[in-house]
Symmetry: C2
Subunit: 320 residues, 2 copies
């Protein structure tokens, strides 16, 4: 029985790491957002895939959450002198991964194949599946026009006000075929990690057929709230919700996933919202979702698995 | 009046640097071998152009002659872990140049344009012209088949015995258009720097029309011997000559350039060969051609320019 976990970057990768401490490689697979992938300096950069793989390999930079630990920046310093684009920070060691990926893609490998090889080299045993091998490119709508996601997120530091999102290419993207196969087998649950609903999870679930595939397993589909006490632990989720005139609450996150999820994990600080979320027809559990230490990550993963077991043992009639 | 200097990598770049100390940017231009360019790890690597530009910028690694001074190798270390190709050493800072070049080529720039921009960023005022914007790829014939030049030169450390050379693409390559224009103006001399005749200079002069263009200026065409006392100062020239059953002598270098050059600069150690070289119909001068210090480079450049002045003032009837 397999848990399929959907994740974006830093926040989701924390829970992902915790889950790998409790589930074997044949019990857990990851589906990763590639909507913020981009072509940059001739490399194919896959920020969420890279954050997840570095995190699972325990080589992520603990200060930033992205990039590698013990990194140096001599390439960037030299590139600046050439007037090259340096707003997206590529460390000297990180460049090896991007170069390796490009050589594999140039040789005809799919992003899934290249990712599997990278995982193998980094000693990661769990499947890490890009959501699709087809390009999907998130664009952030602002009053001054749409921005490529990394321009919004990194170059402009999330400063522009958000009015909406586009996932260019999503209409014709195919669900990762390895995921399709896995979902035909026994599925214990689908877990949506505490990632940004708008730019990390929506690109995944908006791929044609993805929602039906995930729901069609009959297993619980649960989301862990990325909003705690009105704040996003990491990233612009709360800022985006305010700009979209959506209250930055766990309840609104749950409502955003309506029709997809059957259950919801909210933080202790938001326990008061539990009745309102259950009124959406969802099972809920309250947990400590803020992950600072490795033990926090494992504890939350444990709480999620306990919740899944409960959901599977006693399905409520409404969504059993 | 312009001196046009043909050069390959390390040896030629030494004299090139000396010449830049004596001639202004409108008095000196370089034509550089691109026969050992190659596509590697998704980069366009132009080893001789890069050695020349780093040398002229005084940023070359003084230990190796190639690559940058104060270099670090974290990219290579990380790439090795991914099983990437690490036989061609690309330093962290050097990678910035290759990335910049690729972004410019990807954007439609010619190699000449990209090189000009790189020179601008490195503070190089003299023209550095790739011999052609069309790909020419040197292959080294060996008893076990032909090897791409960098495979022979770097990966296999010049170990295979050489039986000949191929310059794939040279038949359809066009002479760099900026060189064509320059050669239509007043030319003081053409100088073949002390580079490998077979793999650094022949790819340049074998471009269709190149020999006629160089000779057609009417200016002296002189070569500086890369062979001194039966040895190559740098690189496999002497080894290649032995394998090709050509005595590794200055005289044989002069003979190799028959029909192209009008004059020859040989080292003091080879002064005994002067009559034999003059018997080939060439003007000659004996100089100290071994360049260890910067002053050696300037001194040889000075000797070459004096020789040119003498040749121009008193052209011998045979080739005036």
């Amino acid at each position: 029985m397999r848990v399929v976990a959907l994740t974006g970057g830093i926040g989701g990768a924390k829970l992902a790491l915790g889950l790998t401490r409790l589930l074997e490689p044949d019990e857990l697979s990851f589906v990763v957002n590639t909507g913020d992938d981009f072509e940059h300096l001739g490399f194919h950069i896959s920020p969420d895939v890279d954050t997840l793989t570095y995190t699972l390999a325990e080589e992520a930079n603990p200060e930033t959450g992205w990039g590698r630990r013990d990194e140096t920046w001599h390439f960037m310093e030299a590139l600046e002198r050439f007037g090259g684009e340096t707003w997206f920070r590529l460390g000297d060691r990180d460049l090896a991964l991007h170069t390796f990926r490009r050589t594999r893609l140039d040789a005809g490998a799919t992003l899934t194949q290249a990712t599997r090889e990278i995982c193998g080299k980094l000693g990661i045993a769990h499947d890490v599946w890009p959501m699709s091998d087809d390009p999907v490119r998130t664009r952030v709508r602002t009053p001054d026009g749409a921005l490529a996601f990394q321009h919004y997120f990194v170059r402009d530091r999330c400063a522009p006000a958000v009015t909406g999102f586009e996932f260019a290419g999503v209409e014709t993207a195919a669900v990762n075929p390895e995921l399709v196969t896995a979902l035909q087998g026994p599925v214990r649950a689908v877990v949506i990690c505490p990632s940004n609903p708008f730019v990390s999870v929506d690109p995944i679930v908006d791929i044609p057929g993805m929602r039906d595939l995930l729901r069609g397993t009959g297993a619980p589909v649960l989301a862990v709230s990325p909003i705690v006490g009105g704040q996003a632990i990491k990233g612009p989720t709360a800022k985006m919700m305010r700009e979209l005139a959506i209250p930055a609450t766990a309840e609104q996150v749950a409502a955003h996933y309506a029709g997809l999820i059957t259950a919801f994990v909210l933080d202790e600080r938001d326990a008061a919202a539990q009745p309102a979320i259950e009124a959406l027809g969802l099972d809920t559990v309250v947990a400590q979702t803020v992950m600072v230490t490795l033990q926090d990550r494992v504890d939350l993963a444990c709480a999620v698995l306990d919740f899944i077991d409960r959901l599977r043992a006693d399905p409520r009639p409404a969504h059993g």
